[in-house]
Symmetry: C2
Subunit: 130 residues, 2 copies
DNA sequence: CTAGATGCAAACGTTTTGCAAATCT
DNA sequence: AGATTTGCAAAACGTTTGCATCTAG
């Protein structure tokens, strides 16, 4: 049997599903530990990886800092604000990528896209700083 | 004055320019230390970051493992082989991305694309394994 | 009963940092 | 001379691992 239903695993899954802010492992761990001080960070990491492998959650690799985790498992892109570091979901159809064939014998199996820029909140702050 | 012309900085720049295999900091360091045993890894890191900031080389963030460095500074995408980990330049026009406007007030300033798959070499090895 | 999961602490790989000494300009 | 850069070692950071213990099925 693989995939036992431990309290820890349920907690990790529930916590990721409840946090819609693309948290990293540490934020998920902190949220869990608040109510369950006995849970260890290693277990959180192990379960995040396992749940991501199983497709129950998604691991989002970002170009700066720790990996984020996403309760959304459907295909969508992310926008990272270079000011505050927050990750945003790109609206459906915001970015469209097409492979135009010639990859010189390299088989493309996955495409990772990250839109980097400035979020509305940080744009506002920048303006008011002037 | 910013940007002194130290031997170490020249070495880092020359070494990156001479290695066309998308090396990581450690590989660049090893290549330098071979002939200049006194150079420290911290200096290599500091210069790689500085040269990348100045646009003389490019830092390529990949979704697995250490950052790579690229002598090419022109805009192009990369393909990462999940078998051997090597990075390949995507031929011009291999991938085409278009922003279709609606990013909900988020200003996109940069688009990072990584094509993940299997390189020709590793495809060949896989077949002969069967 | 036992394969699988946990907690802990220690190790890991990558990168940055504090500081005194050295070096460019 | 003076600001910048270096080397070194130590720390930071995010993540994984070894191992003895525990637990779900």
């Amino acid at each position: 049997m693989n995939n036992r239903n431990t309290i820890q695993r349920q907690l990790v899954l529930e916590t990721v599903r409840s946090m819609h802010s693309h948290p990293d492992a540490d934020q998920i761990y902190s949220a869990i530990v608040k109510d369950h001080p006995h849970v260890s960070k290693a277990t959180v990491y192990r379960n995040l990886n396992l749940l991501a492998e199983q497709g129950q959650i998604k691991k989002v690799n970002v170009s700066e800092g720790a990996d984020r985790f996403d309760f959304r498992t459907d295909k969508h892109h992310h926008m990272r604000c270079r000011e505050c570091g927050r990750l945003w979901d790109a609206p459906d159809g915001a970015a469209n990528i097409t492979l135009t064939g010639n990859t010189g014998g390299f088989s493309v199996e996955d495409i990772r896209i990250e839109l980097v820029g400035t979020c509305p909140d940080c744009k506002r702050n920048k303006n008011s700083e002037v």
